[in-house]
């Protein structure tokens, strides 16, 4: 941490209101939710600033990051449209600054009731008696499903019939060539698919 030692006056630096509003714009662009009000973004920016106040390293990172944004924007980052602003953020996404903003935002932006309301999450439920009488089973666009295995179901075959069982069938049968394995995502590399003597 060479930088803060060389410029100890940075320890006294309070970020400006302008810096705060750039930070809010960064969070809005990086985590765009059309139906979120401003408050959660502002609160998240304040959380980031509060954390930066406790750490010289974060404060250095934020100061440098905000300056870099202005360089890449060729002026005021806040004046870029969403697409251009996103491009700038892509260019800095590997930086300490952006990592700090991203981590802190992910941990805090979504941990508040106003955001839960916007997303359709109802929060604590025990005090309301859970959802037993409040819609845990109110989905109406699919038919009711069996909750027990159908009595008509054939028992699960636990070991496929074509498996070479080293204990019981030491010579391995070859899997049928006609078998449809098109649901396999990749090459078959499993040992037991090989024929061995």
């Amino acid at each position: 941490m060479v930088f803060p030692a060389k410029y100890p006056q940075l320890n006294e630096t309070e970020l400006t209101d302008e810096a705060r509003s750039v930070l809010i714009r960064v969070i809005r662009v990086a985590f765009p939710h059309p139906n979120f009000p401003d408050a959660p973004y502002e609160r998240t920016a304040d959380t980031i600033l509060a954390e930066a106040a406790t750490s010289t390293w974060f404060r250095v990172a934020i100061t440098q990051g905000l300056l870099t944004l202005a360089h890449f924007a060729g002026g005021d980052f806040r004046e870029l449209n969403d697409d251009d602003a996103t491009k700038v953020l892509r260019r800095i996404e590997a930086t300490e600054f952006f990592g700090f903003v991203r981590r802190t935002t992910v941990l805090n932006l979504y941990d508040n009731k106003d955001v839960w309301d916007a997303l359709g999450y109802e929060g604590p439920s025990f005090d309301k008696g859970g959802y037993i009488n409040r819609g845990f089973d109110d989905l109406d666009w699919l038919p009711a499903a069996l909750i027990e295995e159908s009595p008509d179901a054939t028992p699960l075959v636990e070991i496929a019939s074509n498996v070479p069982l080293s204990s019981t069938r030491p010579t391995a049968p070859v899997a049928s060539a006609a078998r449809d394995t098109s649901n396999q995502p990749g090459p078959r590399e499993a040992e037991m698919a090989e024929v061995k003597k």
Partner: protein
């Protein structure tokens, strides 16, 4: 509660979760006094909170740990390899409740799967037939639905999507259980109110845990000396190589010595080998009970992953029992799928706070926020399957990082085996097809969360050179030292492990009680 003197040679159990809590009850029930040393505090059901981060900070094991290896956890959550609990009741207070049994061939993985390159497979020294009576006892104790006359849980919204998809895909082995949460009053505990917070401890006591069943019953015998906030740092031994005491720290950092006649370690699969390694001595230079060199190795975490699928209509997946939905069709062993072993698909749900943190760590931008914006219309499932034991997947002591007591922290090293990667890929594909079949308009493949199923680091083996403990969980090297948690697992099977840990603990308690009576220990 009985106070057992520090100088009395006690039966000492380290940990109060699925293994330790069960063992404590089963021994005290038979008239054997025990000391239980629990690293965490004593939280009660009314202490729990319906808030993901607050509950996490209240319950989770947050002592520092480090990680290495190619798993994403080492990048995304380098100090949180596992998501387990530090409190009385252990991780049974956080688990969701799914209780499938192992299949017969999963106790014989080496014989069934054959030799697999890079995998340190072995057969268990026990069979399903031997375990069946104990599975019965465990299911009855835990109140597993769908078996022994226990009513199934009703379908919640997430399950209705999941089960309809299963049906469309031709699966036939799907249901809302077995699941150790009451659908109706049972064993003195009420029916589920479907509050959706069983990862957060379950305030309603409908979910089985050792906190609601085994610990209070053991206390009621008057034979349990439960000491919360007691973090064991070493097991010592006498000149003959028998365990003779346990050293532990209280919450103020004071060291105590509890003399021991018998020690059972049930500290979960990271702390159990950590403790054995910390107990190295001139007689056991590589760690207590580690003549095989297998202590800490073969760390397994199940092959997991989630798929969150979006629909154009509401699901509200967070309402109701989180994991009361199981598809068993893929739990078979069918190497034509491209891998050995099988996996279950189980419903899962996270709130927005956790979904944001875990759905795609490191992601941002519109691709990320559209996952959250679709929250109300999202259904989720979890893939949980057998992973390959590998000697290099391993818990070691990281002597360059210490915890607040100056103890070396455990390092968790993990690389996926190619069998694990192939299974996960298959699971993702099947899950997406399942949701497509009921009209999904988009889905996201979520990587494994910090491990909840930690297994295999003191494994059971027939021969002492292949593992750490014998068929009873008794260490091959130290006759009065037992391992009583998921560390014993020789292989992981596809099933969620808690039922098997409990069944093994019930079985081990019978053995220990018998040995104590007959002087075999």
């Amino acid at each position: 509660m009985t106070a057992i003197d520090l100088t009395d040679d006690a039966v000492v159990i380290i940990g109060s979760g699925a293994g330790g809590g069960t063992l404590a009850y089963e021994l005290t029930k038979r008239g054997i006094p025990v000391v239980v040393l629990e690293a965490g505090g004593y939280l009660h059901n009314e202490d729990y909170v319906n808030d993901e981060w607050e509950a996490f900070n209240q319950m989770a094991w947050l002592d520092p740990r480090t990680t290495s290896g190619s798993w994403r956890i080492a990048r995304d959550f380098p100090n949180l390899p596992a998501w387990i609990v530090k409190a009385v009741g252990g991780t049974t207070t956080h688990w969701s409740g799914a209780t499938p049994r192992f299949k017969a061939h999963e106790f014989a993985a080496r014989s069934t799967y054959g030799r697999i390159d890079g995998a340190n497979l072995a057969d268990w020294p026990i069979t399903l037939a031997e375990m069946e009576p104990y599975y019965d006892k465990a299911e009855i104790a835990m109140g597993s639905t769908h078996v022994h006359g226990r009513k199934p849980l009703p379908a919640n919204n997430n399950y209705t999507v999941f089960a309809n998809g299963a049906k469309e895909r031709g699966y036939t082995h799907y249901s809302t259980g077995p699941y150790a949460t009451n659908a109706e009053e049972y064993d003195g505990r009420p029916a589920s109110i479907q509050d959706g917070f069983n990862f957060q401890g379950d305030k309603n006591k409908s979910k089985w845990s050792t906190l609601v069943r085994e610990i209070p019953r053991a206390e009621a015998t008057g034979l349990l000396d439960l000491r919360p906030n007691s973090h064991v740092v070493q097991i010592t031994h006498d000149a003959s190589g028998r365990a003779d005491a346990v050293l532990y720290l209280d919450s103020e950092g004071n060291l105590h010595r509890q003399a021991a006649q018998l020690v059972a370690v049930a500290a979960n699969s990271i702390e159990t080998p950590r403790l054995l390694l910390q107990s190295a001595s001139p007689m056991f230079p590589d760690g207590l009970a580690n003549s095989s060199g297998q202590v800490g190795r073969n760390y397994m975490r199940h092959t997991t992953g989630s798929v969150y699928a979006r629909f154009d209509k509401p699901v509200n997946m967070y309402r109701g029992e989180t994991m009361a939905g199981v598809i068993a069709d893929e739990s078979k062993h069918d190497p034509d799928r491209g891998f050995a072993g099988g996996y279950y698909l189980e419903t899962i749900s996270l709130g927005p706070a956790f979904l944001a943190s875990f759905v795609e760590p490191g992601a941002w931008g519109r691709d990320f926020t559209e996952i959250l914006d679709a929250y109300r219309n999202t259904a989720g499932l979890w893939i949980v399957g057998e992973d390959m034991p590998q000697e290099s997947n391993r818990i070691t002591l990281n002597t360059s990082v210490t915890d607040k007591n100056g103890l070396p922290v455990p390092n968790v090293h993990f690389d996926d085996h190619k069998n694990d990667a192939a299974m996960r890929e298959h699971g993702y594909t099947q899950a997406e097809l399942l949701y497509d079949a009921v009209g999904s308009i988009g889905a996201h493949r979520t990587p494994p969360y910090p491990s909840t199923h930690n297994l295999g680091t003191s494994r059971m083996s027939e021969k002492p050179q292949d593992g750490v403990v014998d068929r009873w969980g008794r260490t091959h090297d130290v006759p009065n030292l037992f391992v009583s948690d998921g560390s014993q697992f020789t292989t992981g099977a596809a099933a969620n492990p808690t039922l098997t840990i409990v069944a093994l603990a019930i079985r081990q308690a019978e053995y220990i009680a018998d040995q104590l009576k007959t002087g075999g220990i």
